[in-house]
């Protein structure tokens, strides 16, 4: 029997109530080794008698419950209230960010100017209310208001030496075209009033074109002005279905000032505006007086005598400029106060215009087409130089008679008295067909 088994047997005997001496007497050969071990076992036997008292148990359980409570409450707070608070915080932060984004976006769009990325959004947003109107008068008025804003943008861009803003020009023409589309549904007074506003757009654009420092910007402005005049004529005539001239210049690309001549079927109203004028004049005033008692013709300050040319179509641009240093700023500053361009009512009887077949003038110098933006200057006391840059006129040209028995209608806006260009050093050759 090994020592572990002898020891285990002695321990069992001690546990059963045997004495230490009895155990040692059973294994006398191992007594020396077993004695201290069994003595230690006797001392250890008292360990099993110990137990916690009820008070100690109760106190321990109170502590454990407090521990559980202290651990569960913060957990619940972080699990539910914490999540709710966190979600609420994210929601508030998101809402604030959204509001800031909306405010900044709206502000950026509202403050955008031609050339900005958001300017297209602003143009569309400002025209959108007009598209929702069904009443033709209100619709035309709203379209004209939007077009006025685009004209303001163009003027601001001009004054700040920015590009001519093709998008603003296109939006301006689009608004005027929308008015023309509504023209047949408008009453005559409303139609005339709308036409006057469109004509005012053209006049303003013409003034800007005259004082534009760059050629391509001037050409774009002049082309847009020409389109506006055509639209104004359509509005006045109540003919929304007449398409714009086929060869109209584009706005985005620098176009030649003189547009493609229109067909002979252009209405008399559109062809009655320019008249053959002396090629050059040294008169310092913009309007030239032909002769006393001669039939007068309405003219706007921006119109200049044309240099030996005939107005080939309604889109002819009176762009002979009279420039002075500082003139551009002066013109731009007073654009809003300018009277609207002379409007000729579409009454053929009172204004006998005539369409003539083109014939090469005999015994007269070849007609020289006025350049879109002539390099001619006509300041008082200065020499006037005309540099023709454009090809000859188209084969068919319409023009209004210079001298008629019936006086032309006056300007609706009460503009300056109509005058006719007086004789200049190179008067336009006389053509047949005049009554």
């Amino acid at each position: 029997m090994d020592r572990t088994t002898i020891l285990d047997d002695c321990l069992a005997r001690l546990k059963a109530g045997a004495s230490l001496a009895d155990c040692l007497s059973l294994y006398p050969e191992q007594a020396v080794e077993l004695a201290p071990m069994l003595a230690a076992a006797v001392q250890l036997q008292g360990l099993s008698a110990h137990a916690l008292s009820d008070a100690q148990r109760l106190r321990a359980k109170v502590i454990l419950r407090e521990t559980l409570a202290s651990r569960s409450m913060p957990h619940a707070a972080t699990s539910w209230l914490g999540l709710f608070g966190r979600a609420k915080g994210w929601a508030v932060a998101g809402a604030v960010a959204l509001v800031l984004f909306a405010v900044l976006s709206v502000g950026a769009v509202a403050a955008s100017q031609p050339g900005d990325l958001t300017y297209g959004v602003r143009v569309a947003a400002e025209r959108a209310p007009a598209l929702l109107l069904r009443d033709p008068v209100l619709r035309a008025d709203a379209e004209l208001d939007a077009a006025d804003r685009r004209l303001t943008d163009v003027r601001n861009a001009f004054q700040s030496a920015r590009p001519a803003a093709p998008l603003a020009l296109e939006a301006l023409i689009a608004g005027d075209e929308a008015v023309a589309a509504q023209a047949s549904r408008l009453s005559e007074p409303a139609r005339l009033q709308a036409a006057a506003r469109v004509e005012a757009h053209a006049a303003t654009l013409s003034l800007l074109a005259e004082s534009a420092p760059e050629a391509h910007a001037a050409e774009a402005l002049a082309a847009t002005a020409a389109r506006a005049r055509v639209i104004a004529a359509r509005v006045r005539a109540g003919q929304p279905g007449i398409p714009p001239p086929a060869g109209r210049p584009t706005i985005t690309a620098p176009a030649p000032i003189r547009p493609t001549p229109t067909s002979p079927s252009v209405t008399p109203a559109t062809t009655a505006l320019p008249t053959p004028m002396p090629a050059e004049t040294s008169t310092p005033t913009p309007q030239a007086t032909r002769s006393a008692g001669a039939p007068t013709q309405t003219s706007t300050p921006d119109r200049r005598p044309l240099d030996g040319t005939r107005e080939p179509s309604a889109t002819r641009l009176p762009l002979a400029t009279e420039t002075r240093p500082g003139r551009a700023t002066e013109i731009a500053a007073t654009l809003t106060a300018l009277p609207s361009r002379t409007v000729v009512p579409p009454r053929a009887t009172s204004r006998p215009t005539q369409t003539v077949e083109p014939r090469p003038p005999t015994g007269a110098p070849s007609p020289v087409i006025e350049t879109p933006r002539s390099e001619r200057t006509a300041t008082p006391g200065q020499h006037v130089t005309t540099i023709p840059r454009t090809p000859p006129p188209p084969p068919l040209a319409t023009r209004a008679p210079v001298a008629t028995s019936a006086p032309p209608p006056s300007t609706p806006g009460g503009g300056p008295p109509p005058t006719a260009p007086g004789p200049g050093p190179n008067p336009e050759p006389t053509r047949g067909g005049r009554p």
């Binding site: 020592r3 572990t4 088994t5 020891l7 285990d8 321990l11 546990k15 080794e33 004695a35 201290p36 071990m37 069994l38 003595a39 230690a40 076992a41 001392q43 250890l44 036997q45 008292g46 360990l47 099993s48 008698a49 110990h50 137990a51 916690l52 008292s53 100690q56 148990r57 106190r59 321990a60 359980k61 502590i63 454990l64 419950r65 521990t67 559980l68 651990r71 569960s72």
Partner: protein
């Protein structure tokens, strides 16, 4: 001598699961099952009855704090959970012993095993000294030896029960018991001299 019924694997599995969910009643049930056993172990190692009771409570407070990360051994649920609790108690006792050594306070109170008959003052003093020597001797054992001594003498377990509790064979338990008692005998004899 209070002989407690053995703790089954089913009991431990159910109570630990509920305790991990924060159920107070399950925590108290586990306390009722293991408190006296841990108290005896701690008292054998510490010697001070009140301190052993406080440390027993601390064992369960630590259990609450770490029960969420505890994983039962599915093969030996009761043994694994019991071993975990005794490991906590051993760490607390070790911390207590380190603190005692720092402040050089050795408790030699009257709570160590006392013979049934009344002792005189001289005999009582000898008894306290013997009890302190026994605590020091137990503290000098290895943890495996201590657990065998606790199982055999504090819990009145059989060799089979101790072997199952500690996850060892009966032969290994007998060998551990022999080495533990031999060490205790030598330590106690040396201290008496």
């Amino acid at each position: 001598m209070a002989m407690q019924p053995p703790i089954t694997d089913e009991q431990v599995t159910a109570l630990v699961s509920r305790c991990q969910q924060g159920e107070a009643s399950a925590t108290e049930a586990l306390y009722d099952l293991y408190a006296d056993r841990l108290y005896r172990y701690l008292r054998a190692r510490i010697g001070d009855a009140d301190l052993a009771a406080d440390l027993t409570t601390d064992v369960f407070v630590r259990m609450i704090g770490h029960i969420g990360g505890f994983r039962l051994n599915r093969d030996r649920p009761a043994a694994s959970f019991s071993a975990w609790l005794y490991r906590i108690a051993a760490n607390l006792a070790a911390d207590q012993h380190r603190g005692r050594r720092r402040i050089e306070q050795v408790s030699l109170d009257e709570d160590l095993p006392v013979p049934a008959h009344n002792l005189g003052p001289h005999a009582m003093a000898e008894h306290r000294e013997t009890a302190a020597q026994l605590v020091s001797a137990i503290d000098a054992l290895t943890e495996e030896q201590r657990l065998v001594i606790i199982g055999k003498f504090a819990e009145d377990m059989s060799n089979t029960e101790v072997a199952s509790w500690l996850g060892k064979t009966e032969g290994a338990v007998k060998a551990l018991q022999h080495r533990a008692l031999g060490a205790l005998g030598r330590l106690l004899s040396a201290s008496e001299k």
